[in-house]
C-alpha cells in the first residue's frame, strides 16, 4: 500500500499502476498527506459531511425511481413511497432526516472554522469553496422541500420565490420566470426536480472536489492555528504531522460509527423530530386556498428568516437577509488578527465569538416562532448583534490576537 512498494514487480497491481496511478494517488493523497497530530472532535465533521452527501445521493437515486414530479402526482407518489413500496418509508425518512443532519454537520464544521480561524490565509479559497458548497446546499435543500408538494412545500416556496420579487425593476418578471407560470404549479415542480436531482448535485460534487483539492494544497489547520509546514523534520514531513491514512481514516471511522448511531435513532424513532425536520402541514397536500396559520421554514433556514421578518421594510428585510448569508464569504478579510485560533486571542475575542454563537442559535429559535409581540423585539435585538459581530470583529481582531503562539502544537500523547 505504501509509496515504497516495488513497482517493478509483476502481477496485476503493476499492470494496473502502469495504466492508472492508483498507488501514486494513495501515496500523494492519503499515506503521504500529513495532517496535524492535534485534531480534536471538531475535526470529525468534514468527513461526516462527505458521508451524508453520499448517503443523500444514494437514497435520492432510489426515491427518484418512485417519485413523480407534478401538481397532481407529487404528493401521492411520496405517500405511495412511504406506505406501499417495501422499505420506501425508510428511504424517504433517511433522505428527509439526512437533509437536516447535513446542515447539523455543516454548521458544526463552520463553527470549527470560526473557533480556530481556519478561514484565514492561506486558506481563503478553501473557505470560499466551502461557503459556495453551503449556498448550493441551501438551494438543494429548498427545492427538495418543495418537491413532495405538501402544504408547507407550497407556501414555503411561495414566500421564498416571492423574495426575488423585491429586486427593483426585474423582480416581478423574475418571479414569473422562476415559477414558469402565474403561480406555483407543474412547471415549477418539474424544473425544481431537474435542478434537485441533476444540476445541483453535479455542482455540489464539483465544489466538494475543489474544496478537497484546495485543502490538499494548503494543508489542514489545527486547534492551535499554527502552520505545521513551517516546522519540518529531517524527512521533510512536518514534525507535528501524521499521515492521513491510516491515522485519521481510522479516527474518522469512530466518528462515522457515532454519527450513524444518532442518525439511526432519529430515523427510526423520531423522524419528524417534533416538526423540526418534517413539519406537520407538509403531511397535507398543497392547498393554494389555505395558508398554514404559521409559516416557518425548516430549522436550518430560520436564522436568516428571523432577520427577514425583523425588518419592518420589505426590500430592506430581503436585502439584510441576503447580506446575512453573503457576509460569511468575507470572513478571511474581516478577521484581521495575526493568530488564527481563539486559543491565542484575548478575552474580548473569546466573548465576541461566544456572543455570536448564542446570537445565531437565538435567531434560529426566533425564526420558528410567530412574528408578533416579544419575538419581533428579540429578533430585532439579535439581528443587530448578528451584524454587530462582524463589524466588531473587524476592529477587535486588529489589536486582540497578536500575542505569542507556541512553536509546536499542543498535544498530549494518549
Amino acid at each position: 500500500m505504501s509509496a515504497t512498494m516495488d513497482k517493478s514487480a509483476g502481477g496485476f497491481r503493476a499492470w494496473l499502476n502502469k495504466r492508472l496511478p492508483v498507488d501514486q494517488f494513495m501515496a500523494d493523497q492519503l499515506t503521504g498527506y500529513y495532517a496535524p497530530k492535534n485534531f480534536n472532535v471538531w475535526y470529525f465533521f468534514g468527513s461526516l459531511a462527505l458521508l451524508v452527501f453520499v448517503m443523500q445521493i444514494v437514497t435520492g437515486i432510489f426515491i427518484t425511481m418512485h417519485f413523480k414530479p407534478g401538481e397532481a402526482t407529487a404528493f401521492n407518489s411520496v405517500e405511495y413511497l412511504r406506505r406501499e413500496v417495501p422499505y420506501g418509508w425508510l428511504l424517504q425518512y433517511m433522505h428527509a432526516v439526512g437533509a437536516s443532519f447535513f446542515f447539523i454537520v455543516v454548521y458544526l464544521h463552520m463553527a470549527r472554522a470560526f473557533l480556530y480561524g481556519s478561514y484565514k490565509g492561506p486558506r481563503e479559497l478553501l473557505w470560499v469553496f466551502g461557503m459556495l458548497i453551503y449556498l448550493a446546499l441551501m438551494a438543494e435543500a429548498f427545492m427538495g422541500y418543495v418537491l413532495p408538494y405538501g402544504n408547507m412545500s407550497y407556501w414555503g416556496a411561495q414566500v421564498i420565490i416571492n423574495l426575488f420579487g423585491t429586486i427593483p425593476g426585474i423582480g416581478p418578471d423574475l418571479v414569473e420566470w422562476i415559477r414558469g407560470d402565474y403561480g406555483i404549479g407543474d412547471a415549477t415542480l418539474t424544473r425544481f426536480f431537474s435542478l434537485h436531482v441533476i444540476a445541483l448535485p453535479f455542482i455540489l460534487a464539483l465544489l466538494i472536489l475543489l474544496h478537497l483539492v484546495a485543502l490538499r494544497q494548503v494543508g489542514s489547520n489545527n486547534p492551535d492555528g499554527i502552520e505545521i509546514k513551517e516546522n519540518p523534520g529531517a524527512d521533510g514531513h512536518p514534525k507535528d504531522g501524521i499521515p492521513f491514512h491510516p491515522y485519521y481514516t481510522l479516527k474518522d471511522i469512530v466518528g462515522v460509527g457515532l454519527f450513524l448511531t444518532f442518525f439511526a435513532i432519529v430515523v427510526f424513532f423520531i423522524p419528524t423530530f417534533g416538526g423540526l425536520f418534517m413539519e406537520a402541514p407538509n403531511f397535507e397536500p398543497a392547498n393554494p386556498s389555505s395558508t398554514p396559520e404559521h409559516i416557518a421554514p425548516v430549522w436550518y433556514f430560520t436564522p436568516y428568516y428571523a432577520i427577514l421578518r425583523a425588518v419592518p421594510d420589505q426590500k430592506l428585510g430581503a436585502l439584510l437577509m441576503a447580506l446575512s448569508v453573503a457576509v460569511f464569504l468575507f470572513m478571511p478579510w474581516i478577521d484581521r488578527a495575526k493568530n488564527k485560533s481563539v486559543r491565542y486571542r484575548g478575552i474580548t475575542s473569546k466573548i465576541l465569538l461566544g456572543v455570536f454563537f448564542v446570537t445565531f442559535l437565538m435567531l434560529m429559535w426566533l425564526g420558528l416562532k410567530p412574528a408578533d409581540g416579544i419575538y419581533v423585539l428579540l429578533a430585532r435585538i439579535f439581528t443587530v448583534l448578528y451584524f454587530g459581530f462582524f463589524i466588531a470583529l473587524f476592529f477587535v481582531s486588529k489589536w486582540d490576537g497578536n500575542g505569542p503562539v507556541p512553536d509546536r502544537v499542543t498535544y498530549n500523547a494518549h
Binding site: 407556501w155 411561495q158 414566500v159 420565490i161 416571492n162 423574495l163 414569473e176 420566470w177 422562476i178 414558469g180 407560470d181 402565474y182 403561480g183 406555483i184 404549479g185 412547471a187 424544473r191 393554494p288 386556498s289 389555505s290 395558508t291 396559520e293 404559521h294 409559516i295 421578518r309 425588518v311 419592518p312 421594510d313 420589505q314 426590500k315 428585510g317 412574528a371 408578533d372
Partner: protein
C-alpha cells in the same frame, strides 16, 4: 517528400497579429455562447398553455351577500371579491394618516380602480388575494374594533405569515412588513350581476 530542413527554421512571430486573432476567436466564441444560452433561459418562461390557462374568470355577483367575501381563481392566483356595505365604505375615509399609501400612488391597480374606494363600482371590491409582502393569503378580519388585530381596527385583512394589515380597500397599514397595497386585477362588469376578472375596457379581451 517534404523538406524537413525548411521546417526547422522558425518564422518570427507577429505578436500583435496573434493577440488580435486570439481576442477575435475568444470574442466570437463568447458571443456564440451567450446567444446559445438564450433559448435555454427563455424555456423557463410560462409556456403557451400556461398563458392560455390565464383566461378570464366570470363571477355571479348575485350569490354574494352584502358584507361577505367570495374567492375565485384567476391565473393561479386567489381573487377576493367583497360586496361592501355602506358602513364598510364609510369606514374607509377615517384612517388615511395610518396608511402607507392612502391614495395608492405606489401600488398596482388599473387606472379605474385608483380612487377612494379602489373600485370600479364602490360596493364591489376585487383584489388579488396575495399579500404584497411575500405572497401568503391575508385572512378576513371584517369585524370593526377587533382588538386582536390592532387598536381601533376599522375592519379589513390580516396576513398570518408576517403580520401585514390591510383595510377594506386593500390599503396597507403602517407597521406592516408589506410596503404597498394589495394588487387589483383588471376586471369589468357585464350587466348588473356579472363580474369578469381578467378583462377590462383597455385589454379588449386580452387577459
Amino acid at each position: 517528400m517534404s523538406d524537413h530542413a525548411a521546417d526547422d527554421t522558425v518564422p518570427e512571430v507577429d505578436e500583435s497579429r496573434r493577440k488580435f486573432l486570439i481576442a477575435a476567436t475568444a470574442g466570437t466564441g463568447a458571443v456564440g455562447a451567450v446567444l446559445t444560452a438564450v433559448p435555454f433561459v427563455a424555456s423557463w418562461n410560462p409556456s403557451e398553455s400556461a398563458r392560455a390557462a390565464g383566461l378570464p374568470t366570470e363571477v355571479d355577483l348575485s350569490k354574494i351577500e352584502p358584507g361577505q367575501m367570495a374567492t375565485f381563481f384567476w391565473r393561479k392566483q386567489q381573487i377576493y371579491v367583497v360586496k361592501r356595505t355602506p358602513e364598510m365604505l364609510a369606514s374607509l375615509s377615517a384612517h388615511d394618516p395610518q396608511l402607507k399609501d392612502p391614495t395608492s400612488e405606489k401600488s398596482e391597480q388599473p387606472q379605474y380602480a385608483k380612487n377612494d374606494s379602489r373600485a370600479l363600482k364602490p360596493d364591489v371590491l376585487v383584489l388579488i388575494g396575495t399579500c404584497t409582502h411575500l405572497g401568503c393569503l391575508p385572512k378576513t378580519r371584517f369585524t370593526p374594533g377587533d382588538a386582536s388585530v390592532m387598536a381601533n381596527w376599522p375592519g379589513g385583512f390580516f396576513c398570518p405569515c408576517h403580520g401585514s394589515k390591510f383595510d377594506l380597500a386593500g390599503r396597507v397599514f403602517q407597521g406592516s412588513p408589506a410596503s404597498v397595497n394589495l394588487k387589483i386585477p383588471p376586471y369589468s362588469f357585464e350587466g348588473d350581476n356579472k363580474l369578469v376578472i381578467g378583462v377590462d375596457a383597455t385589454s379588449k379581451g386580452v387577459a
